[in-house]
């Protein structure tokens, strides 16, 4: 029994899961939610959390029955739990590594990340409390959070709601939104990163 568990664990722990497994599982998550009569969309939780904190006093946008979205908050809670369990019990055999391509390792050097191929961490060092006190860390953590929260609601959805769920149902607005995601992402990557990573 223990041996069976260990081989299951080794199987799950293999990292990275191939892209077709990742994509397939995400589609499964979307269809399971649809089967329960819900819509896949993680960023809607941010609106519900604002409403729960009483943001309705300041803007009508938050005056809605957020408790009906309690199920979605449970999805977010489950995602946190999934992150906890994976990081602690199903970590990759070489540790928390992002298996990015050698080309990426090379272009990371231009930003000042000196990693060897196969040694790039999953999560960059700037996601730490010490880094929050540096200018660059502050911009990424506080500024990045703001842009995501603002942009997702303005666009009416994030990666899950537009890129996956919206495009799957052949909705042109979602295709426009995802085009926007990539325009913004490319501007950040090519034009702003060279300055941001000099800080």
């Amino acid at each position: 029994m223990l041996e069976l568990w260990e081989s299951f664990r080794a199987f799950i722990s293999h990292q990275p899961w191939p892209w077709w497994v990742g994509g397939g599982m995400i589609a499964l998550v979307m269809f399971t939610l649809m089967f329960f009569g819900k819509e896949f969309g993680i960023s809607a939780n941010l609106r519900a959390m604002c409403a729960a904190e009483g943001a309705g006093r300041f803007a009508d946008f938050f005056n809605y029955d957020w408790q009906r979205d309690g199920w979605n908050l449970m999805v977010a809670l489950g995602a946190m739990f999934g992150g906890y369990m994976t990081a602690h019990y199903f970590g990759g055999p070489e540790g928390n590594i992002a298996h990015v391509s050698p080309a990426t390792v090379a272009s990371l050097r231009e930003l000042g990340f000196n990693y060897e191929v196969g040694k790039v961490p999953l999560v960059p060092e700037f996601y730490s409390w010490e880094s929050l006190l540096t200018l660059r860390g502050f911009i990424i953590i506080v500024g990045g959070g703001f842009l995501i929260g603002f942009g997702a609601r303005y666009a009416g959805g994030c990666t899950s709601g537009h890129a996956i769920s919206g495009i799957s149902s052949l909705q042109v607005p979602s295709l426009v939104a995802v085009t926007g995601f990539f325009i913004g992402g490319l501007i950040m990557t090519y034009f702003i990163f060279p300055f941001l990573f000099q800080l």
Partner: protein, 137 residues
């Protein structure tokens, strides 16, 4: 107990995005440099299965657990909000290397500083709520 299934669904999503490395800033960086098929593969596989599945649902009029026809509610047919909002979201996605799903996943994984990121994301949503009537949609 009725919430248990949603926790389980979130758990599967969290594990999937973590193990396929979609939670990694470096993977997002790689994607925006078009240096690997990995992230595109994840998104395109999900979309391909999604499109086929939804066509089958339509063809066979499959019902959800409440007996209603399955469908994704249509988005409002305007464009400004999707392009402007999309660009703002994309700037944040590339800079932070995380979108709202991975934000929760990495917070759970023990990167506690992401609580600040989450608070900031809530603040961004709040500011959108304040400005909504003044923004072009």
């Amino acid at each position: 107990m009725r919430f248990f299934k949603y926790i389980a669904i979130g758990f599967v999503m969290g594990m999937t995005l973590y193990k396929s490395e979609a939670v990694s800033w470096f993977r997002i960086y790689e994607m925006f440099h078009f240096q690997s098929f990995h992230m595109f593969g994840i998104i395109l596989t999900a979309i391909a299965i999604g499109i086929v599945g939804e066509q089958l649902i339509k063809r066979f009029h499959l019902k959800n657990i409440k007996g209603e026809e399955l469908y994704v509610p249509p988005k409002a047919p305007t464009y400004k909000r999707y392009i402007f909002g999309g660009i703002i979201f994309g700037l944040g996605w590339a800079m932070a290397g995380i979108c709202p799903g991975p934000m929760f996943i990495l917070l759970g994984a023990g990167y506690t500083v992401l609580a600040v990121f989450l608070a900031s994301a809530m603040f961004g949503t709040f500011v959108y709520g304040l400005l909504r009537d003044k923004l072009p949609h």
